[in-house]
């Protein structure tokens, strides 16, 4: 199967590409491209629908394949008086939650990995058990608790519940455990305090894990719908997900499909931008390389 071009490629120092690839590589490449297209197609479809007039789509979906296209659906979103408030709310909630989770998970992870204290293992197991409890199971109790504390329709009300992050504690504990203890001991010999060792020596080494945890936390908080739906019930406290859902008409899937799709794109755009900036860390996180 080798063509002259293939066999002569490496010898002539040709740049990498299809030239010089084996048949197996080509098959894998082809399958990868096919998979990428399959995954991209729905996204392209959503964007294309968002650029069409609702009434055209109501008559026929084929309208998506020909002009005219319009940005009116996006302009309608921006014309919603509260949309920028909702974006700000989402940024505050997702940002606050990310920061809080990183601080608490790092401290807890360090404690579980490095410090000896009574019931450490039992406590660690209890924290891990939190991974097995779905949010829905504690929703009513949590809602009542926050009602009692009068924290609904406040930023703390939206941020605090998810600060208890068993996954974050587990991730950071494992990461701290993987760092050689000799580093701590060397710092101790230099008369460094426990906090200084944590802050100056170990924490910088956990940056990849921090990035992973931060990205996952931010993405989760940005996309969260259930808790903001029932806690932030005043219009001015909606997050973006709840806010844009509230602008849908009753029959959005038929009468307002273009608008519906523009909402999906609009809500996803900040995440796409985040991905572009933190692509390397996200890929690392997804591939699991961050967990040693």
């Amino acid at each position: 199967m080798s063509s002259p071009a293939v066999s002569s490629g490496p010898a002539s120092g040709a740049p990498s590409g299809m030239v010089g690839r084996s048949t197996g590589d080509r098959i894998i490449l082809g399958l990868t491209i096919a998979a990428a297209i399959a995954m991209m197609a729905p996204l392209v479809w959503v964007v294309a629908l968002s650029l069409k007039d609702n009434k055209e789509l109501m008559v026929s979906m084929n309208a998506v394949f020909h002009a005219p296209y319009t940005l009116q659906n996006y302009l309608n979103i921006l014309a919603t008086s509260s949309v920028f408030r909702w974006i700000l709310n989402s940024l505050i909630v997702a940002g606050g939650l990310t920061l809080g989770t990183l601080v608490l998970s790092s401290l807890a992870g360090y404690g579980f990995a490095r410090l000896n204290f009574p019931f450490r293992n039992v406590l660690f197991v209890i924290v891990l058990m939190g991974l097995a409890v779905p949010e829905q199971a504690v929703l009513i109790a949590r809602h009542q608790l926050f009602s009692w504390m009068k924290l609904h329709n406040t930023y703390p009300g939206l941020i605090l519940p998810n600060l208890s992050a068993p996954f974050g504690v587990f991730l950071m504990t494992q990461y701290f455990r993987a760092i050689p203890k000799e580093l701590d001991e060397a710092a101790l010999l230099d008369n460094a305090s426990r906090f200084k060792i944590f802050w100056k020596v170990l924490l910088p080494l956990t940056l990849p894990a921090q990035a992973t945890l931060g990205i996952f936390t931010f993405l989760g908080a940005w996309n969260d719908y259930l808790w903001p739906l029932i806690s932030g019930t005043k219009k001015e406290m909606y997050t973006l997900t709840v806010g844009i859902a509230s602008t849908q008409t009753n029959f959005a899937q038929s009468e307002g499909l273009g608008f519906l799709m523009s909402q999906a794109v609009f809500a996803g755009a900040p995440i796409l931008i985040l991905y572009l900036f933190f692509q390397k860390y996200i890929v690392t996180a997804v591939s699991g390389a961050a967990v040693r």
């Binding site: 109501m58 008559v59 026929s60 979906m61 302009l75 309608n76 014309a79 919603t80 008086s81 809602h143 009542q144 926050f146 009602s147 609904h152 329709n153 739906l229 029932i230 806690s231 019930t233 005043k234 219009k235 709840v242 859902a245 509230s246 602008t247 849908q248 008409t249 009753n250 029959f251 959005a252 899937q253 038929s254 009468e255 307002g256 499909l257």
Partner: protein, 441 residues
């Protein structure tokens, strides 16, 4: 002179003090939580209700107009994703519900039974609105335990939306040009067969994919038409009955014979009807406007032979009836001042007075005077669907969790009609699942 001066100064001081102590002209604030979406771009500042179109446009303009006409009251609107009951329940639990909220007639019991809503009889009476002003379907929909718990603003139901061109091809149009609709199950099946033979297309367009509501509404309608009292006890359903079996088997026969579309979801079913892919689209009152507009546009499938719309045909020998629901404006139970209560009454009166404007959405008006008015009858196709105001029948008002019940019925009917389950097994499961739900409220 000094006395005069004193009096003048005192009067001036009093006026100044009054002005300062009237921070308002401080308008009485009411919170109004509704679905129907947001449409600020088109109608955010519109106060000319006649210019508004669609549910969102009309209700937005109505509130704008009310605020403009009543500077002493400000209605602040919060929109929620349809139907918004998760949020509303959470708000009640947190002790912070909105003053006024949109609620389906079928969902009123869920809140009224827990004492969360204010009976409105006195508020409505104080503003000159009498229960007798409402259509029967509307009044029944909002009356719970003998009291009115919401201002009904409309009734909606499912209809036979008909492609007249295909009906003509199928020979299902009478001499006067009206569609010939079946009068029994046998006639329905025969006409569906005839339709397919003549046109090559299915008689019914139904959204059977990702759907529960359509199945449920169909079942309720044909149970009512058999005088089946499946909710004689509102806390326990008796639906594993011969009457229910007849209905499910009828829809199964239609499915098995290919006389219906099978794999369409809601949006696709609308596309299919607009493209002329079937004779009758089972859909709600809210589609009348869109289908009328399509029928008036040259070159469309509905423009060829016209568009007609009718209530569901009477297929059984019982009372003339079909399932209907409606929207209402309910008022939450919470501490409020007399001024706020008066403001709520004024707002409800305004909404009742503008029931015709709301009826332009396609929904049937809740007020008798509107449904009998010439201007309403002049709206397209309202003459043929007006009987719904009398035919429309809800579940008994004390039945709770009607949205959850709808899901169960839809799932079980879907399984039976598509052949995943025996009809008897589906009905048995339907009954036991609903009763389990109602036993654990």
């Amino acid at each position: 002179m000094i006395h005069m001066l004193r009096k003048t100064m005192l009067a001036a001081a009093s006026i100044a003090a009054l002005a300062a102590a009237h921070p308002a002209m401080a308008a009485t604030e009411l919170t109004f939580q509704r679905f129907f979406g947001a449409c600020d771009a088109d109608f955010g500042s519109n106060t000319d209700i006649a210019k508004a179109v669609g549910e969102c446009g009309i209700i937005t303009s109505m509130v704008n107009k009310f605020n403009a006409d009543n500077p002493d009251i400000h209605v602040a609107v919060t929109t929620v994703e349809w139907p918004g009951y998760d949020q509303l329940t959470a708000q009640f639990a947190a002790g912070d519900p909105p003053d006024i909220v949109t609620i389906h007639h079928s969902a009123l019991s869920d809140y009224q039974s827990k004492g969360l809503l204010v009976p409105l009889d006195d508020v409505l009476a104080a503003n000159g609105i009498k229960p007798a002003d409402f259509t029967d379907a509307s009044r029944n929909g909002v009356t719970k335990d003998g009291k009115i718990y919401g201002l009904p603003i409309d009734n909606w139901t499912m209809l036979f939306h008909i492609n007249m061109d295909l009906f003509k091809q199928a020979g299902l149009v009478d001499a006067s040009g009206k569609p010939i609709l079946p009068k029994s199950v046998d006639e329905l099946l025969a006409q569906a067969k005839q339709f397919k033979e003549k046109t090559g297309k299915p008689y019914l367009i139904q959204n059977l994919a990702n759907e529960t509501a359509l199945y449920t509404r169909n079942l309720y309608t044909y149970l009512f038409q058999q005088n089946s009292e499946f909710f004689a006890d509102p806390t326990k359903v008796k639906i594993n009955t011969p009457e229910a079996k007849k209905v499910v088997e009828m829809y199964k026969a239609i499915f098995d014979q290919g006389d219906t579309t099978k794999d369409l979801d809601y949006a696709a079913s609308i596309n299919a009807f607009l493209a002329g892919e079937g004779g009758v689209h089972l859909n709600g009152t809210w589609m009348i406007g869109d289908y009328t507009a399509s029928a008036e546009k040259p070159g469309t499938a509905l423009n060829k032979g016209g568009y007609a719309v009718y209530p569901y045909p009477q297929l059984f020998a019982g009372k003339h009836a079909q399932y209907a629901d409606g929207h209402s404006l309910a008022v939450s139970q919470k501490d409020r001042s007399d001024e706020q209560t008066a403001a709520i009454g004024k707002f409800l009166k305004f909404m009742a007075d503008h029931d015709f404007d709301w009826s332009r959405t396609g929904h049937l008006p809740a007020m008798k005077a509107v449904i009998e008015s010439a201007e309403f009858k002049a709206l397209p196709h309202r003459d043929t669907v007006a009987p719904i105001a009398e035919l429309g029948t809800s579940l008994p008002s004390a039945v709770q969790r009607q949205f959850a019940i709808q899901d169960i019925i839809g799932q079980e009917m879907s399984a039976a009609i598509t052949g995943q389950k025996e009809v008897d097994a589906s009905l048995a499961d339907m009954e036991s699942r609903i009763n389990e739900l109602l036993a654990n409220l």
